[in-house]
Symmetry: C2
Subunit: 338 residues, 2 copies
């Protein structure tokens, strides 16, 4: 199989870091997502470009290389357009989250995906992180009972960010870019059974990063009558041990499961603070490549990825308008599962 | 000084546990808050009643003993009525939170307090807990910058609760009873500068406890454009190490302060994870008794206590109605500071 990379603004390392483990896959080209992207510099400086041919224009690259898979991580507002371009050519796409920057774009990518028949995988890797997987399985296995209260946190160091982050039009927002992971966790735990969204965000405290929101919260009402709340921020101080911090807690009548400090721990009526066993780490991109050959289902389907994106965009809307936004239930007749 | 106890449904141990340290204070009587309260049994079994005379009726006790201070912890819906009865007799009150079960009761207790001239202290002890005090001081000292994102959690074991907990009319609700502490923390950090409240709660998963909400969330929009979100629940499993769990995180441009596992930790651009020094523990009731003699201000004033109560009741309203509730800014002309 042949793969190309379009854009270098996101987590293309999710694909490149597992190259050695995918002998069946060859990277045949890399191109910027748009003319003003400094892909070449990024590749020249960091990515040993000699190993992957560089193209100035991705359509030309697609025409010439006819890849099977495109790894798509351009300026954030170009994700859905480029993903649609690829899918319309029959190319499977591994695409940076949130995948669409507006509900209209989301609608289009959903439609193009449905009629293209290709596979789509978002760069939402947490369902393959062993500690998150262990927590999600504990919930699936009924160990906490019905999940009725979920809290989640995602925090990053701000540092000095590329100008793409400083404008809503190119960045999308901190809810779609950062909080989306916690939204994915909550979606996974609740199976998307969310009825209403409230949210808030602010640009105060963003240290000169223009329109970038320094922090945000989102709350979801769940159809089981419970709630989920998440917070996301760029306030993690420079001196902190790691770039990012993340935590998750899901509570129900039978117990509490948490992901904290890279471990999943479960407390139930009988067992205080049991560290859950972790599976061997799996790379989402390797799983995606394998699923294309095998037809095996990914842990995050395209339908789920679209729903996570929709939740993120509607959460941003709820924050922008400071008004609750209804979220229609799943099972409402859409058929886009991949 | 003479003190009495009215009711035994709440945290009267906050007063009784420091008896030995208050030689200037004598407990001269204890009475139930209402006829159907099993105070006598509680006292006979647990409180060495021989040491404190028992009265069947609190008004008779007040008439006879003419105490200086009343420790008030009856069925939760009687808190404000009994506190008003005492204040109208010129008795200082140490009263269980939330102090009022409705906004009308809150209005009355505010008015009675204002014209009585007595001192009022709520059973909201966290501003005297060394780890919380350390965190609040770090914020006051500007170590995290403007607090823009606050998250808080309060979780308890449910066990088998007294029937008073199973009816809204006697219990008040999990937001006023449990979440109120986290509301107090957020009030302390933000100085009450909250503009809007959203909330949710559910009785699902309450294991036969009638109308008791098993879990709840509250989100606040702050007037500095930031947000605060808290969760409260009774899902802490029986096997957990302690009855309660609590955590607090406040983040701003300059740093993050957290209270977790009984410690306050600060992270800033220069210092990773510094454990903040803790003052010697202080008991809120002892501070209250001292403040009556000395006139010194408590760390939680009556005005702040009323505002925390108002936030709790309006949060409950937001949860009941599933509709955001405006919170008027402080500085709107009230003068009830004690």
């Amino acid at each position: 199989m042949k793969a190309v990379i379009i854009g270098t603004c996101g987590h293309i390392d999710l694909a490149l870091s597992v190259r050695d483990r995918l002998p069946e896959l060859e990277f045949v080209g890399v191109a910027p997502g748009s003319a003003n992207e400094d892909t070449r510099e990024f590749f020249v400086e960091q990515m040993e470009p000699s190993l992957i041919p560089f193209y100035e224009s991705y359509p030309a690259m697609l025409d010439r290389e006819k890849p099977d898979i495109a790894v798509i991580a351009p300026f954030f507002h170009l994700q859905s357009r480029i993903a649609c371009d690829c899918m319309e050519r029959g190319i499977h796409v591994f695409v940076e989250k949130p995948m669409a920057a507006t509900l209209e774009e989301l609608d289009r990518i959903r439609r193009v995906h449905a009629r293209s028949g290709v596979s789509l995988c978002p760069m939402l890797p947490y369902r393959y992180h062993p500690e998150f997987r262990a927590a999600f399985r504990a919930v699936e296995d009924g160990l906490i009972g019905e999940p009725l209260l979920i809290t989640a946190l995602k925090s990053y160091k701000l540092g000095k960010r590329h100008p793409v982050y400083t404008r809503r039009i190119t960045y999308g927002g901190t809810i779609p870019w950062v909080a989306v992971h916690a939204i994915d966790w909550i979606h996974c735990i609740t199976k998307g059974k969310i009825t209403e969204i409230s949210a808030g965000h602010t640009t105060t405290g963003n240290r000169g990063h223009g329109e970038l929101e320094s922090s945000a919260f989102v709350s979801f009402r769940l159809s089981n009558s419970g709630s989920a709340v998440l917070s996301a921020d760029y306030f993690r101080p420079a001196a902190a041990a790691t770039h990012g911090e993340e935590s998750l807690r899901a509570a129900g009548e039978k117990g509490v499961v948490e992901v904290i400090g890279g471990e999943a721990v479960l407390t139930t009526a009988d067992s205080p603070l049991e560290k859950l066993p972790r599976e061997e780490p799996r790379a989402i991109f390797a799983e995606f490549v394998r699923s294309i050959s095998s037809g095996e289902k990914l842990r995050i389907t395209a339908a789920e990825a679209f729903e996570v994106c929709e939740l993120a965009l509607k959460s941003r809307e709820a924050a922008d308008t400071r008004t609750p936004v209804r979220f229609r239930q799943p099972d409402s007749g859409r058929k886009e599962d991949s």
